[in-house]
Symmetry: C3
Subunit: 156 residues, 3 copies
């Protein structure tokens, strides 16, 4: 098998105290479509959770938003918006609009990007790669939207 | 940071009894392509699990199906099918069909929508937003397909 | 509700010993774009973890790669590459390239396929369907890339 172990050694921890910690974030964007960088706030939540090893679920509680991991680079973010608009375009012709809405594209963009990510927690911190940053993607904003952040795992 | 806490206060629970509960669902759709609303059955599984705080994984055990979270609105569901057909169309020209199959599009649709979701469990129930509903998407049905539903977390 | 239980009975396990085990894999592909079949190595990691029931997170630590579950069939893999190139094409015109990179397409492909999967562990093994296999998808390789594999759940 051509994969091999890194110098980073395997980590095994066991224990009898399990903790689960949940926070709800509220985001109200100024524009209808906007990215929000979440990593620093998520790192603070890991610390408040007391969880040393486990998982963090970051999940939009709305169906016109998404969460993803990628690069914090402005040019790429413009590319992402252009790409989302190409694959799931805004437009007047969605059947969903018979309900009075005009955000059919936002539902499809949410499916395309996915509404949640699961992140690893090791040694009390987010265990991400060098360039990995977590973003909230708002596709129909300018109103209060919620995110749930749940950390579960071994504590203390 | 422009996010702020909601009125919903953070929840931290710890304990020493951890439970993991698994059910396998079987779905046989009448049509080749069909959506199935899963939320009520998933809520019943949380209750049977006895898990009070943790995660639920809902994962198709097949590679021509998917699971997603979005709105339970019929017009939108038609939009979703039209969009899936545009981005990953049914057709005769897939190399996968050299195996005798005709479902190359179903594999691509499964990758596009994603075959699994992880849902948060808080206070013994699914912790979803107001409009979030869970769906199984069948892309090559009319035969028995399985889903695994696993709930893990603090119990009692 | 038209779903019904399979012959596979529900499984509930409880305990007080929780374990979390993490390995980091390094992959260096020979080609810029390449799929790598991970299932056998992941099964070995479950065994080394000692976890009997819980979840495994398999997550690329890079933003130009992805992890997915689908069929181990060569024709389908060619279809997947052709589809990825159609939906998120390689090209010179990404704004991200103003940074000196030429991999804008690889970031979009990573978002499309998703960078991580969560897999169920039951009775000490990966609980996958008959045809489900786990793949690493490299979109900008020929250099060392890392994956984190974390298994958490009940042990012993």
């Amino acid at each position: 098998m051509p994969t091999h172990r890194n110098n980073r050694a395997p980590v095994r921890v066991t224990g009898t105290e399990f903790a689960s910690y949940t926070e709800y974030l509220v985001i109200r964007t100024k524009k209808r479509r906007e990215l929000r960088h979440l990593t620093p706030e998520l790192e603070a939540i890991v610390e408040r959770s007391g969880v040393l090893d486990g998982f963090m679920l970051v999940s939009a509680m709305h169906i016109t938003a998404a969460v993803f991991v990628n690069d914090n680079e402005g040019g790429l973010h413009e590319d992402i918006w252009e790409w989302l608009e190409k694959v799931a375009p805004f437009g007047p012709d969605y059947r969903h609009h018979r309900t009075g809405e005009d955000n059919g594209d936002a539902h499809l963009k949410s499916m395309l990007v996915h509404h949640e990510v699961t992140l690893p927690i090791t040694k009390g911190g987010l265990d991400l790669g060098t360039w990995q940053e977590v973003f909230y993607a708002e596709f129909d904003g300018m109103r209060e939207k919620r995110l749930i952040v749940k950390v579960s795992g071994l504590a203390g």
